[in-house]
Amino acid sequence: MNSSNICKKWLNSLPPIEGYLKNEQSIGREFFSEQGMPSKKDEAWRLSNFNKLNNFLSLPTIIDCEDIKSKFQSIFPEKDKNRERIIINPNRISILNINLPNGIEKLSDREIEENIGKIVKSSNIKNDISVCLNQASSSELLALKVKSNFNQSLEIVIPSIEEKSISTRIFLLIEEGAKLDLLQIFLGNNNSAQNNLTEIKLESKVELTHGLISLGEKKESSSICTLAVEQSKKSKYSLHSIHHGWDYARFEPRIIQSEGEASTIIKGLQVTKSKEQIATHSLIRFEGPNGKLDQLQKAVASEYSHCIFNGSIEVPQKAQKTEAAQLSRNLLLSKRARIDTKPELEIVADDVRCTHGATVSQLQDEELFYLLSRGIDNKHANSLLLKGYYDEVISHFPKSARKWNFIEKLMQDIKK
C-alpha cells in the first residue's frame, strides 16, 4: 500500500471529531487530507525511514476497555515517596480522574482555550507533521497548572498499548517562581505506536528540571514526540533525555525563549541497535536578548541502526548578547550503522557568542587498551567506556529515576 493510501486509511480509522479538542482535530485532519504524509522531499523528514513511519500509521487507533484491561502495561517500579505519579491511561474518561498533589491544579476550560496550541504555533514550523499528527488524533488533554508556591517532584508515565496506536497530549502551565522536578517516562509495547505532544509554559523565574526517559524495549515499538517549551524571562529550563529501544522514534524538542534573559540546558542521548532508527530534531529560538543555551546531543549507533540529529538554533536581530553552545557527539559502534548529524544555526544578531561542533568517532583504541592492560576483559572494558560515554547525560537524572532501569537497558547493547 502506498503512503497516500495509508494516510487516508489512517484518517478514516480515527474516532469522529468531537469533544473540546474538536477544533484541533479538524486542523490536524485537514492538514493530512490536503498534504498527505511527508516524503523524501520534506527536508525535515528526508532521512526518516518511511516503512517504519507507515507501520506507525497502520496500527489501529480505537482503544476500548478490553485493550486497557489486557494490553495496557500497568505494573511499574514503585512510586517514589517524594514524587507524585500520574499514569496516562488512554481510556478517555480516566485521564482526568487523577488525584493531584497540593499545588497542582487542573486548568480551567478558559485557561485551556487561551493557551492550547500557542506554543507549538510559535515554533513556526512549516508543515508541522508531528504536531498535526497529534492534533488529528488526540481526543484528551492533560492540562495542569503548577502553582507558584510549588516546589516538588512529579512523574508522568505514558505507557503504550500492545498492537495499538495511542495519542496523548499534555499541557503544563508553571506559574511564576515555581520550581518543578519533572520526570516524564515513555514506554513502548509490542507492536505499538505512541505519539505525544507536550507543551510547557514557564512563567518568569520558574525553574524546571525535566528528565525524559523514553524506552521502547519491546518489539516494533514506535514513538513520535514533540515537546514545545516557552520560557519567560529569568526562567531556567534543563532537559535531560534518553531515547532507547524504539524501532522507530522521532523526538522534536522546541524551546522558545520568548523574552530572552533565560537559561536553557539540553543534554540528550539516543542509543540504537539492530535496525532501529531514532531521530532528534531540536529547535531553540531566542526572541529577546541575553539568552543562554548549553546543548549536548549524544548518539550511539550499533549493528545496522541509524541515529539522526538535526539541531536548529535561531538568533534573530532582537536577541543580542545571546550565548549559545551546541555540541553533537556521536559514537559509531559498527561499520553498518549510520549517524547523521547536522547543526543548523541561523544567526542574525551581531553581538552574540554561538558555538557548535559535531564529532563522529569510535570507542577510543587507546582508552580500550588502557583498560585491557589492567586485566579487564574486552566486554567489561567496552561497557565501562560506554557507561563513561553515557555519563555526561545520565548523571543529570535524579537518583530516584534509576528505578526505571534505564542504565541497565542502555548497557545491554554492549557488543559482545
Binding site: 582508552e367 588502557y370 592492560s373 579487564i376 576483559d377 565501562l384 567506556l385 563513561g388
Partner: protein, 263 residues
C-alpha cells in the same frame, strides 16, 4: 635481591616488531630474573616505548620475528588482558584520561581481574575501599582522586602516582614503567620512586624505561641497557647510566660501530 637460583621471569629473544608498517624493533634480547631491576635508556625513537607496548600486547604493534616468554610460556598469542592477569604490568608514559569512568570502579574491576587469576576472592565495594585506602599511602595520594574519572584533570604527577597505585593494587610479577619519571618535580619523583622501591619483591622484577639518570639515583638498577635503533646495544651496571649522563648520547654513537654488545 638477586640470587643464582633466581627464576627467569621474562625472556625476550631476537624480537623484531613494527607499527603501521614501520619497523621499530630490530632484534631485542633481554633476560629478566626474579628480584632484578633493569633500566633501559636511549634516545627518543630508539624503540624503548615500543618494546614496552609489545610486551603488554598493544594491538597496533606487530611482532615480525622473535619470542617473548613469561616464566617459560610464550605470551605472544595472549590478549593484553590475559598478559595483565598473569602479572605483566605496563606503567604508561602518557596515561589516558577516561571521562565518565570512575577511578575507583576502574581500580576495583582491574584488581578483581587479577585476584581471580591468583585464585583470591573478589573484593566487594567495601572491602576494596579498605584495600585501596591502605595502598594510597604508598604513593601519598589523596582519596579524593578515587572519586574522579580515570586520570581526568589529573596533573602529570598525579597521573604517574595513579599508575603506581595500580601497580600496588595489581601486585604484578613484572612491572615495565615507561618514563614514569618524566614530567615529575623532585618531590613527586621521590614519592613515585619510593613507591616503586616499596613494591619491589624478591619474586618480582621491574624494568624502568627512562631518559635520565635521576630516577636511577632513587632506584638502583642491577642492569642498565642502552637501546639504539631498535635493539639493546650495550649493557652494564649503574656506572653505565652515570657515564651516559656525563657524556650524553654521543657516547653511543662512538660505541655503536661493531660493539653490538648485549647481556
Amino acid at each position: 635481591m638477586i640470587s643464582s637460583t633466581s627464576e627467569t621471569i621474562l625472556s625476550i629473544q631476537d624480537l623484531h616488531a613494527s607499527v603501521e608498517e614501520q619497523k621499530i624493533l630490530n632484534g631485542v634480547n633481554l633476560l629478566v630474573k626474579e628480584g632484578e631491576i633493569h633500566a633501559i635508556m636511549g634516545r627518543n625513537g630508539s624503540g624503548k616505548s615500543t618494546l614496552s607496548k609489545v610486551i603488554a600486547g598493544h594491538p597496533s604493534y606487530k611482532v615480525i620475528a622473535g619470542s617473548i616468554q613469561f616464566k617459560g610460556t610464550d605470551i605472544l598469542e595472549l590478549a593484553p588482558e590475559e598478559r595483565a592477569r598473569i602479572g605483566i604490568f605496563l606503567g604508561f608514559q602518557y596515561p589516558v584520561e577516561i571521562p565518565g569512568v570512575s577511578n575507583l570502579e576502574f581500580l576495583r574491576v582491574a584488581t578483581n581481574s587479577r585476584r581471580k587469576e591468583l585464585l583470591k576472592s573478589e573484593l566487594d565495594t567495601f572491602e576494596f575501599e579498605d584495600l585501596v585506602k591502605e595502598r594510597l599511602k604508598i604513593v601519598e595520594m589523596d582519596a579524593a582522586f578515587l572519586e574522579r574519572s580515570v586520570n581526568e584533570g589529573f596533573s602529570g604527577g598525579e597521573k604517574k602516582r595513579n599508575e603506581i597505585l595500580q601497580m600496588a593494587l595489581l601486585e604484578p610479577v613484572i612491572s615495565i614503567l615507561d618514563e614514569t619519571d618524566s614530567g615529575l618535580d623532585i618531590d613527586a619523583l621521590r614519592i613515585v620512586a619510593s613507591g616503586i622501591n616499596k613494591l619491589s619483591q624478591p619474586n618480582s622484577a621491574t624494568i624502568l624505561i627512562t631518559h635520565y639518570q635521576r630516577l636511577l639515583n632513587e632506584i638502583t638498577p642491577d642492569f642498565v641497557h642502552i637501546m639504539a635503533d631498535g635493539k639493546i646495544i650495550k649493557t652494564g651496571n649503574k656506572e653505565l647510566a652515570i657515564d651516559l649522563e656525563k657524556s650524553g648520547y654521543d657516547f653511543i654513537d662512538k660505541n655503536i660501530k661493531g660493539t653490538g654488545m648485549t647481556q
